[in-house]
Point group: C2
Chain length 94, copies 2
Amino acid sequence: MNDDLNDLRRSLDNIDNALLYLIAERFRLTHRVGIYKRDNKLSPVDPQREAQQFKRIQATASRLGLDETVAHNLFRGLIDEVVEQHKKLQAKDS
Amino acid sequence: MNDDLNDLRRSLDNIDNALLYLIAERFRLTHRVGIYKRDNKLSPVDPQREAQQFKRIQATASRLGLDETVAHNLFRGLIDEVVEQHKKLQAKDS
């Protein structure tokens, strides 16, 4: 194996930057969702949508050989933060 | 605004799939790091490397307008899982 620790770490840093860009874009989109929900008097929490999301996340993780609990916990953290931000958006408006 | 909730959600689903692919690839790389560390008798935890990672993550998050605590917590979860996997790899070998 020609693997060198520093070489692997450079690849990890590249992937982490890509993850950060995607997560930043994800929050830009969920901010627009939050404004839509506020303007249309929709609840910040949508259990049906969440169930669909986690079903898809679980299926994709399984297909990719990614631990499903790890994937679940990561997206649980993201979605909880989105709900908090949407609650704040609605509180500001009231 | 032409924003439609379903349209935004389709974009979010695309981003989430991209995130899952990157995270799966990240664990493939960290698995190789784990094997390297096991074979070279290195500790699963490297506080100096972690400090560098979190410094870079914080700087990138700040530049992208991404909440630094959110970014920190997400990567804390990822890195904790990696350390657990590396500990298991080393335990298997002993």
